[in-house]
C-alpha cells in the first residue's frame, strides 16, 4: 500500500461553470442532466456559423478584493478557490511556505488582451494578461507562500495541475496545494475554434454526432493535501489522488494521433503509477470534446487500454453540460470525477436518441458509455483524461483506497547535465554565446531579440515543411531544443522516445501571438480568424513543436510563472527524473520579444530607454528574449551512452512572499528561502557555494532584491562570491535568461567558459567587477525571480 508519507488526499472542492456557481449547484444540475450551452451573449457572432457557448452567469464574481486588478479568469479561479478552501476548513495561510498554488489555463487573461487593444491600450490591463497572473492572484488572496505556478498545457492544463500538485507533495515540497484550472470564454478562442471549423453549430455531441466542440468557461479547484497533514488537522477527506500519466504525441500541433498511442501510454502510466489494476477503474471522465478526431482517438484508446480486462467500464463526457472549458476542463472534470466516486454515481453524456445509442453501441461494444441520465455504480477508482493542442495527453486516478503509488523511485539517481542549446540575441548556438562572453558583448539597443535563420534549420536538418508552421516562439524553442539534443549527441529513437520528456518554462508564452490574433479579429471580425495562427496562441505550442520535431513522446509540460519559470523547469524536471518517470528531461526557458512585448514593458515603465548593465541603478531593463534548453539525464543513462557531462543538478528550492502580481518590492526575503531550500536539497551549505549566476538586469528594484538577499544569505562571505549576470549581454529575457543563467553555470563548471567578468557585492551594498577564472568553481548557485513574489534557486556542481 502507498506509504502514508506518499499519500495525497482531496480535502476541498470548488467549482464555477455554466451549470453552477458552486459544487452543490453544479452537481445537482449534473445529476438532472442540465446543459449550460446556450446562445452566447458575450461575443460578436456576426457572420459566424456557430453561436453557442456555455457561459458562467454569476453576479458575485467581483465580490473580492481589488476586482479591477484581475482578469475574469482570475476572478473565476479565486471564486472556486475560496469555495474549496472553505470546504477544506482552511483559511488564510500568511505566506506559509508549505502551501502551494498550481493553476492550469489555456488562454489566461485574454479578455484583458482584448480590452487593452480595444480600449486605449491602458497599462492597467497588462498585468492581467499573462496566465501567470492567475495562480499568483489566488496565492495573494489566500496567502499561499510555497510553489506558485501555472500549467499552460491548453486543454490538459487542469489535470496536469493536480498531477503536479501530487508530485510536489510526494517530493516533500508542499503539504497543501490549491490545484485546478481556470479559463474564460472570449473572442480569441471562439474565433480560433471557428477558424478551425471545430465548433458544432448545434452544440457539442461527444461520441455521438461529433461535429465539433462548444466552448465553455469556468474554474475548478481541488485542495490536495498530504495525508499526514490532513490527518493531523482532522480534515474531512473526499478521496485519494493516486498516480498520473503525462505524455506527448509528437504528431501534430492541433490534431491527436489517430492511433491514440500516447494517450494510451498516459493511461498506462496513470494506472502503473497508482499501483492498481485496470479493472479497478469503474468510471472514466473522458476528454470527449465532440470533435470526430478526438472522440474516435479516445474510443480507440479505451478499446485498446481496457480490452478484456475491463470491458464494461463506464465512460462519459460532461462537456455537454459545461462546454469545453479549455484549461479549466480537467479541473472541473476532476470535481465531477471525485463527486462521482464519492457518491457512487456515474454521470452521462447528454442528448442521445435511441438511434444514436444504437450507433454508439456498434462502435464501443460492451463499454458502458453512459447516456442522458446518471446511474448508480459502486466505484473504487475513477480516471479523468484530457488531451490538448501541442499533443499533450494527461490521465489521473482518484480512488477510495490508498493504492500502491509509485513515486521518488529514482531519488538517489544523480542527475547529469549533458546538453545545452542556446538561442539568444547574440546568436543561435552555444559557440556563439561563448564567443560573446569572451568578447564581453553588450546589447546594441534597449530592445533586442533573437533571430532564427535558415542556416539554423539546415544545420539541424529541419525541413521547410516543418519550420514553415512555426511562429516566433516556436522557432526559438525548436532550435534551442534541437541544439541541446545535438550538443548532447542524444538520438531520439522509437525505443527511447518515451523515456525523455520536456518541461518548457515561459513568462509570457503565447501572449504575443494572442495579441496578434486579437488584432486580426478586431480588424476582420470573429468569422475571419486564422486557423494557421490560432494554435500559436496556446503557451504550450512551442513545446509541442519541439516534441513533434524531435520525436520526444514522454512527459511534456509547459509552466508559466514569470522569469522564474526558466529555473522551475529545471527543478520540476529533476523531480520527474527522481520520480522514475523519465531517464532524460529537457528543461527549457523560452520567451520572445515581439514589438508588442517591448510596448508592454514601456507602458509599464520597466523598459530602459538606453542600454543598461546590471547593478547600474537604472529605472528599467533592456528587453531581450531567447530560448535555452538544458538536457538532463540520470548519471547512469549518461554514462551508458558515454555522454559528455557538463555538471550535475544537485538541488532546487523555492520561496514566495506574496505581493501584488506585477510587483516585486517587499518580497525579497523569499529569495533567501529559495536559496536555503536549494542548498538543503543539494546537501551543501553556503560555504560550499563558489559563485552565483544571478538575475540582475540593471533595473534597480530587481537588482536590489538580489543584492540584499545575497548579503543576508552569504554574510561576511558575500564580497568574495563572484556573481555572473547573463543579462548584461542578452537583456531581460525572462524565462530564457533564467535558464541561460543555469546554462552559464554549466559552461563555467565544465570549463567551456574559462573565465568571465563577475560582479562582487560588498556588505555595504557597493558593487565591483573583475574577471574570474572558472577553474576554481565547483558549485554554483543559480537564482531567479517572478512578479508577485516567487523565487527559485538551483545548485549545479561538478
Amino acid at each position: 500500500m502507498t506509504s502514508n508519507d506518499s499519500r495525497c488526499v482531496v480535502t476541498g472542492l470548488g467549482v464555477i461553470c455554466a451549470v453552477g456557481n458552486n459544487v452543490e449547484e453544479t452537481w445537482k444540475n449534473a445529476l438532472n442532466s442540465v446543459s449550460g450551452i446556450h446562445k452566447t451573449t458575450s461575443v460578436d457572432t456576426d457572420k459566424c456559423y456557430a453561436d453557442l457557448a456555455a457561459e458562467v452567469h454569476c453576479e458575485t464574481l467581483d465580490a473580492m478584493d481589488f476586482p479591477e486588478e484581475k482578469d475574469r479568469a482570475s476572478k473565476l479561479c479565486i471564486k472556486a478557490a475560496n469555495e474549496a478552501l472553505q470546504d477544506a476548513g482552511l483559511g488564510h495561510f500568511a505566506d506559509d511556505q508549505r502551501v502551494s498554488v498550481i493553476i492550469g489555463s489555456c488562454v489566461g487573461g485574454v479578455i484583458s488582451v482584448e480590452h487593452y487593444h480595444q480600449h486605449g491600450k491602458n497599462a492597467n490591463d497588462i498585468p492581467k494578461m499573462p496566465i501567470a497572473a492567475i495562480a499568483s492572484q489566488v496565492a495573494e488572496t489566500c496567502g499561499a507562500g510555497g510553489i506558485v505556478t501555472n500549467v499552460a498545457n491548453a486543454c490538459a492544463a487542469g489535470t496536469i495541475s493536480i498531477a503536479l500538485a501530487c508530485d510536489l507533495i510526494r517530493a516533500g515540497r508542499a503539504d497543501v496545494v490549491i490545484a485546478g484550472g481556470a479559463d474564460s470564454f472570449a473572442a480569441v478562442p471562439y474565433s480560433g475554434f471557428l477558424s478551425l471549423h471545430a465548433l458544432d453549430e448545434n452544440g457539442c455531441s461527444p461520441f455521438n454526432h461529433c461535429n465539433g466542440i462548444t466552448l465553455g468557461e469556468g474554474a475548478g479547484i481541488v485542495v490536495v493535501e498530504s495525508y499526514e497533514h490532513a490527518q493531523k488537522r482532522g480534515a474531512k477527506t473526499y478521496c485519494e489522488v493516486l498516480g498520473s500519466g503525462v505524455t506527448s504525441d509528437a504528431h501534430h500541433i492541433t490534431a491527436p494521433r489517430e492511433d491514440a498511442l500516447c494517450l494510451t501510454e498516459a493511461m498506462t502510466r496513470a494506472v502503473k503509477n497508482s499501483g492498481i489494476q485496470k479493472s479497478d477503474i469503474g468510471y472514466v471522465n473522458a476528454h470527449g470534446t465532440g470533435t470526430g478526431k478526438n472522440d474516435n482517438a479516445e474510443i480507440t484508446a479505451f478499446t485498446k487500454f481496457f480490452g478484456e480486462e475491463n470491458p464494461t467500464v463506464s465512460v462519459s463526457s460532461t462537456k455537454v453540460m459545461t462546454g469545453h472549458c479549455l484549461g479549466a476542463a480537467g479541473a472541473i472534470e476532476a470535481v465531477f470525477s471525485i463527486k462521482a466516486l464519492t457518491t457512487d454515481t456515474v454521470l452521462p453524456t447528454l442528448h442521445y436518441t435511441a438511434e444514436d445509442s444504437e450507433a454508439l453501441r456498434a462502435k464501443v461494444g460492451q463499454m458502458d458509455f453512459v447516456q442522458n441520465v446518471p446511474h448508480a455504480k459502486a466505484l473504487k477508482c475513477v480516471m479523468s483524461n484530457n488531451v490538448a493542442f501541442g499533443g499533450t495527453n494527461a490521465s489521473i486516478i482518484f480512488s477510495k483506497e490508498a493504492g500502491n503509488v509509485s513515486c521518488q523511485t529514482a531519488k538517489n539517481e544523480k542527475i547529469a547535465v549533458t546538453g545545452l542549446g542556446i538561442v539568444s540575441p547574440l546568436g543561435n548556438s552555444k559557440a556563439a554565446y561563448i564567443a560573446s562572453v569572451e568578447q564581453d558583448s553588450k546589447p546594441e539597443s534597449p530592445s533586442i531579440h533573437s533571430t532564427i535563420a535558415l542556416d539554423d534549420y539546415k544545420e539541424l536538418g529541419i525541413k521547410m515543411a516543418f519550420y514553415r508552421k512555426l511562429d516566433n516562439l516556436g522557432q526559438l524553442q525548436t532550435v534551442s531544443g534541437m541544439r541541446a539534443l545535438q550538443d548532447a549527441n542524444f538520438k531520439v529513437t522509437d525505443e527511447n522516445a518515451k523515456d525523455i520528456g520536456i518541461i518548457v518554462g515561459t513568462s509570457e508564452g503565447g501572449l504575443g501571438a494572442t495579441y496578434d490574433f486579437e488584432e486580426l479579429i478586431t480588424n476582420l471580425g470573429n468569422a475571419q480568424g486564422s486557423a494557421f495562427k490560432f494554435p500559436h496562441t496556446v503557451y504550450n505550442a512551442a513545446g509541442g513543436y519541439l516534441s513533434i520535431c524531435s520525436g520526444i513522446k514522454g512527459y511534456g509540460v509547459t509552466i508559466t510563472t514569470g522569469p522564474v519559470s526558466g529555473l522551475d523547469s529545471i527543478g520540476y524536471a529533476m523531480n520527474v527524473i527522481h520520480d522514475g518517470q523519465e531517464k532524460a528531461m529537457m528543461a527549457t526557458g523560452t520567451d520572445e520579444n515581439l514589438p508588442i512585448i517591448t510596448e508592454f514593458a514601456e507602458k509599464l515603465n520597466v523598459a530602459a530607454n538606453q542600454v543598461v548593465t546590471p547593478y547600474s541603478d537604472s529605472e528599467g531593463f533592456v528587453v531581450g528574449d531567447g530560448s535555452v534548453s538544458i538536457l538532463m539525464e540520470t548519471e547512469d543513462a549518461a554514462k551508458a551512452r558515454d555522454a559528455k557531462i557538463y555538471c550535475y543538478a544537485l538541488g532546487y528550492g523555492n520561496g514566495r512572499k506574496n505581493v501584488k502580481f506585477g510587483k516585486i518590492e517587499g518580497s525579497g526575503e523569499a529569495l533567501d528561502c529559495a536559496i536555503l531550500q536549494a542548498l538543503q536539497d543539494a546537501g551543501v551549505s553556503v560555504e560550499d557555494i563558489d559563485a552565483v549566476c544571478g538575475f540582475a538586469d540593471g533595473f534597480k528594484k530587481i537588482d536590489q532584491i538580489e543584492k540584499d538577499s545575497l548579503i543576508r544569505v552569504f554574510g561576511d562571505k558575500v564580497s568574495s562570491v563572484p556573481v555572473f549576470e547573463v543579462k548584461e549581454r542578452v537583456g531581460e529575457g525572462r524565462a530564457a535568461s533564467a535558464t541561460l543563467a543555469a546554462a552559464e553555470a554549466a559552461l563555467l563548471l565544465s570549463g567551456e567558459l574559462k573565465s568571465e567578468k563577475a560582479y562582487f557585492v560588498s556588505k555595504d551594498g557597493s558593487v565591483s567587477a573583475k574577471s574570474v577564472d572558472a577553474a576554481g568553481l565547483n558549485k554554483i548557485l543559480v537564482i531567479s525571480f517572478a512578479a508577485g513574489g516567487s523565487y527559485s534557486a538551483v545548485v549545479f556542481g561538478k
Binding site: 525541413k463 521547410m464 508552421k469 475571419q528 486564422s530 486557423a531 494557421f532
Partner: protein, 81 residues
C-alpha cells in the same frame, strides 16, 4: 484577373500566410507532399483565402483541387461566375 495573376496571388499567399519558401514553390509543386507539407489546418486557410479573394467556395470540393497552385487556379477559373 487572369489565370497567371491568380496563380501569382496564390503563391504570394502561400509564402506570406503559410510560411512556404517561394524558391521551392512552383505552380505545379504538390502542396500536400513531403516538401511543402501542407495539412488539414492549411487547407482551411486556403478555403478562407480563396473565398475572400476570389469569391469561390472550395468547401466540400474534395482533395483534387488542392493538389497544386495550378489545380486551385483551375478550380477558381471554373467556378468564378
Amino acid at each position: 484577373m487572369n489565370n497567371e495573376e491568380v496563380k501569382s496571388k496564390l503563391k504570394a499567399f502561400f509564402m506570406s500566410d503559410l510560411g512556404v519558401d517561394g524558391d521551392v514553390l512552383n505552380y505545379d509543386t504538390p502542396l500536400f507532399g513531403e516538401e511543402i507539407g501542407l495539412d488539414s489546418v492549411d487547407s482551411l486557410e486556403i478555403i478562407s483565402f480563396v473565398d475572400s479573394n476570389f469569391g469561390v467556395s472550395m468547401t466540400g470540393a474534395g482533395k483534387e483541387p488542392f493538389q497544386s497552385i495550378d489545380t486551385i487556379a483551375d478550380f477558381i477559373a471554373k467556378h468564378q461566375a
